[in-house]
C-alpha cells in the first residue's frame, strides 16, 4: 500500500474555550479515498487542520505514517491540506505559486499542474484575489492534486465549483489516483456527488465520531419500508427508525440496521423495500433541524 495512514486516538482540539473535537478516535487506511462527512461545525476542518499540523491539539494522539505530524519535516512534506479559503499567496500570480510549490513539494508534478490549469480554464498570470470563488476552489484542486502528496486532504474544495468543474475535478482525481495511488480525504456535507468516489467514510457530528465504516457497508445499513401504515408499523416494531413519513394511509419508514430476512418479510407483508442514499442517511443520522444549506 502506498500513501500515509492516519491514526487518531482520543483527540481533543479547542478554539479558546470552544471544544471543536471531543476525544475522537478514528483511523484512515493508507492508499484509500476516504470521505470525512459532517455538518457545518461538526469538526471536519479542525480534524484536518490537526492532521496537517495547521493547528495544535489540546490532547490525544495523532499519528500520520506512524509519526506525530507536528513540526515533522518528513510527514509535513508528504501532507497537503487544501482548505476552501486557499492558503496560497493571494497577491501573486498563479504561476508563481505553482513554481513556489514545485520547489518545496518533493513530488510536485509541474506538467500535471499545467494540464489541470488548462482543464479548469485558469490563467497562470491571474492572481487568487482576483478570482471568483469557483476558480479559487479550482486552483486549490490543482494544488492538491499536483502536489501528489501521500496524504492529500481536500476540505470542501468542490463546494464553490460549478457542475462541469466538479466533474472535471472528480475525473482528474480518479485518473491521477489510479496512476499514483495515495491517501486522499475528501471532506464535505454535500455527499450525493462524491459518495461513489469513496471507499471509506468517517462521519463526525458535533465534535464526536458518529461512525467509521466502508462506504458500501454504510450505504447498505439503511433501508426504507413503504406500504400501508399499519403493516409498516408492524414491520419496524422494535427497530431503529430514523425517519417516518405519512401520505394518507401509506407510510414510509427509514430504518438503520438491515436484517437478512427483511426481503422475505417485506414480500410476505406486501411491503416495498428501498435504498437510502448516503446523503439521506447522513441527514437522518445528524438531523436536528436541517439548515437551509443542507435542505437544498
Amino acid at each position: 500500500m502506498s500513501g500515509f495512514g492516519v491514526e487518531v486516538r482520543d483527540l481533543t482540539a479547542r478554539y479558546d474555550a470552544t471544544v471543536a473535537l471531543d476525544s475522537v478516535s478514528f483511523t484512515i487506511r493508507p492508499g484509500v479515498i476516504t470521505g470525512l462527512l459532517g455538518r457545518n461545525g461538526s469538526g471536519k476542518t479542525t480534524a484536518l487542520s490537526v492532521l496537517a499540523a495547521f493547528k495544535r491539539r489540546a490532547s490525544g494522539t495523532v499519528l500520520v505514517d506512524g509519526e506525530d505530524p507536528w513540526e515533522n519535516e518528513r510527514v509535513l512534506a508528504g501532507t497537503c491540506l487544501v482548505r476552501e479559503s486557499g492558503d496560497v499567496a493571494q497577491d501573486q500570480k498563479l504561476k508563481d505559486t505553482l513554481e513556489f510549490l514545485a520547489d518545496r513539494r518533493p513530488l510536485f508534478d509541474t506538467q500535471l499542474a499545467g494540464a489541470l490549469m488548462d482543464r479548469f480554464e485558469l490563467d497562470p498570470l491571474n492572481r487568487p484575489d482576483r478570482l471568483s470563488r469557483g476558480k479559487r476552489s479550482a486552483f486549490g484542486v490543482v494544488v492538491g492534486i499536483a502536489s501528489r502528496t501521500p496524504l492529500t486532504l481536500l476540505d470542501e474544495v468542490h463546494l464553490g465549483m460549478d457542475a462541469p468543474s466538479r466533474y472535471a475535478f472528480y475525473d482528474a482525481l480518479l485518473a491521477d489516483w489510479l496512476e499514483h495511488p495515495r491517501t486522499i480525504v475528501l471532506s464535505s456535507h454535500l455527499i450525493g456527488e462524491i459518495e461513489r468516489l469513496l471507499e471509506d467514510v468517517v462521519m463526525l457530528d458535533r465534535g464526536a465520531v458518529l461512525t467509521v465504516s466502508d462506504a458500501d457497508t454504510l450505504r447498505s445499513s439503511g433501508l426504507t419500508v413503504t406500504g400501508p401504515a399499519h403493516d409498516v408499523a408492524a414491520f419496524v416494531a422494535g427497530r431503529e427508525v430514523v425517519a417516518r413519513q405519512h401520505l394518507g394511509r401509506t407510510a414510509q419508514a427509514t430504518l438503520v440496521g438491515p436484517r437478512d430476512d427483511d426481503a422475505a418479510r417485506a414480500r410476505a407483508a406486501g411491503l416495498e423495500l428501498g435504498p437510502v442514499a448516503l446523503q439521506d442517511l447522513f441527514v437522518h443520522l445528524t438531523d436536528r433541524v436541517p439548515t437551509p444549506e443542507e435542505a437544498r
Binding site: G3, S49, R74, L76, G78, L81, Q90
Partner: protein
C-alpha cells in the same frame, strides 16, 4: 512513494524561506529607495534655491527606513504563515527563515542608506555646503563607520520588532497584541536612545565615557537582536494557522 518523500528538499527549507522573503523585501526596498532618492534630490534643490543647504537631508530618511520595512514585516508575517505551512514546511524553518530575512533586509537597508550618505557627503563637499547630521536621535558624529554601525543595527532591531508584533497579534489576538506593544516595539526606542549617546535623552556617553558608549550600544543591540530572535522562534513554533485567510 514513501521513499521519494523522505528525500531531502532541493534546497534547505530555511534557506529557501529566507531567500524568498528577502527577495520580497528587497523588491519593495528598491521602490522605496528610488522614491527616497528622488524626494531627497528635489528637497536639496529646493532648499538651495530658497535658502542655504546646511545639513544632511538624506539623514531624515532614517525614520522611513525604520518604519516602512517594520510595517511590511508585520504584514508579511501574517500573510505568509498560512502559505508556508500549507506548502508542507515546518514552523522551525519559517522562524529561522524570517529571522535571517530580517537581518538580511536590515543589512541591505544599512548598506544602501550609508552608501547614499557617502554620496550625499561627496556632493556637499563638491558644492561647498556644510554636511552634518541634525536629526535628533542620530549620533552627532561625522564618522561614517559609526553611523553605519548604529543605523544598520537599528534597522535589524526594527525589522525583528515587526516580526514580533506580527506573531504576537497572531498568537494572542488584538487585546494582548496591543498590550504587548511596549515589549514588541520597545527595542527600537531602546537602541535608538543607546546610539544617540551624546544628544539623546539618556546621554550614555556621560555614563560610560565617549569612547565606550558606541561599542556598548552596539553590544547591547546585538544582545537585543539575540533575545528578539529567540522570542520570535519560540512564539512561531506554537502558532496555529488562522481559520480564515480570506
Amino acid at each position: 512513494m514513501t521513499v521519494d518523500v523522505a528525500r531531502a528538499p532541493r534546497v534547505s527549507s530555511v534557506r529557501a524561506t529566507a531567500q524568498w522573503l528577502l527577495m520580497m523585501h528587497l523588491y519593495l526596498a528598491m521602490w522605496a529607495w528610488a522614491m527616497a532618492i528622488v524626494v531627497v534630490t528635489l528637497a536639496i534643490v529646493v532648499i538651495n534655491t530658497v535658502g542655504e543647504v546646511q545639513n544632511s537631508v538624506l539623514s531624515f530618511a532614517r525614520q522611513g527606513a525604520i518604519w516602512f520595512p517594520f510595517s511590511v514585516f508585520i504584514a508579511i508575517t501574517a500573510a505568509y504563515l498560512p502559505v508556508h505551512i500549507a506548502a508542507g514546511l515546518t514552523r522551525r524553518s519559517l522562524a529561522r527563515g524570517s529571522i535571517l530575512a530580517a537581518i538580511g533586509t536590515g543589512i541591505a537597508y544599512g548598506l544602501v542608506y550609508n552608501g547614499l550618505l557617502l554620496v550625499e557627503r561627496a556632493v556637499f563637499g563638491a558644492m561647498g555646503w556644510e554636511w552634518r547630521v541634525l536629526e535628533g536621535m542620530s549620533p552627532d558624529t561625522a564618522d561614517p563607520l559609526a553611523i553605519a554601525t548604529s543605523t544598520t543595527l537599528t534597522f535589524v532591531v526594527a525589522y525583528l520588532c515587526g516580526l514580533l508584533v506580527g506573531i504576537t497579534y497572531m498568537r494572542a489576538g488584538g487585546w494582548w497584541g496591543t498590550l504587548a506593544l511596549p515589549l514588541t516595539v520597545g527595542p527600537i526606542l531602546v537602541v535608538s536612545v543607546l546610539f544617540a549617546y551624546e544628544s539623546g535623552p539618556l546621554e550614555t556617553s556621560a555614563w560610560f565615557g565617549s569612547d565606550q558608549a558606541s561599542p556598548i550600544a552596539a553590544a547591547a543591540s546585538l544582545l537585543i537582536i539575540a533575545v528578539q530572535a529567540f522570542a520570535f522562534d519560540r512564539l512561531t513554533r506554537g502558532v496555529d494557522v488562522p481559520r480564515r485567510t480570506t
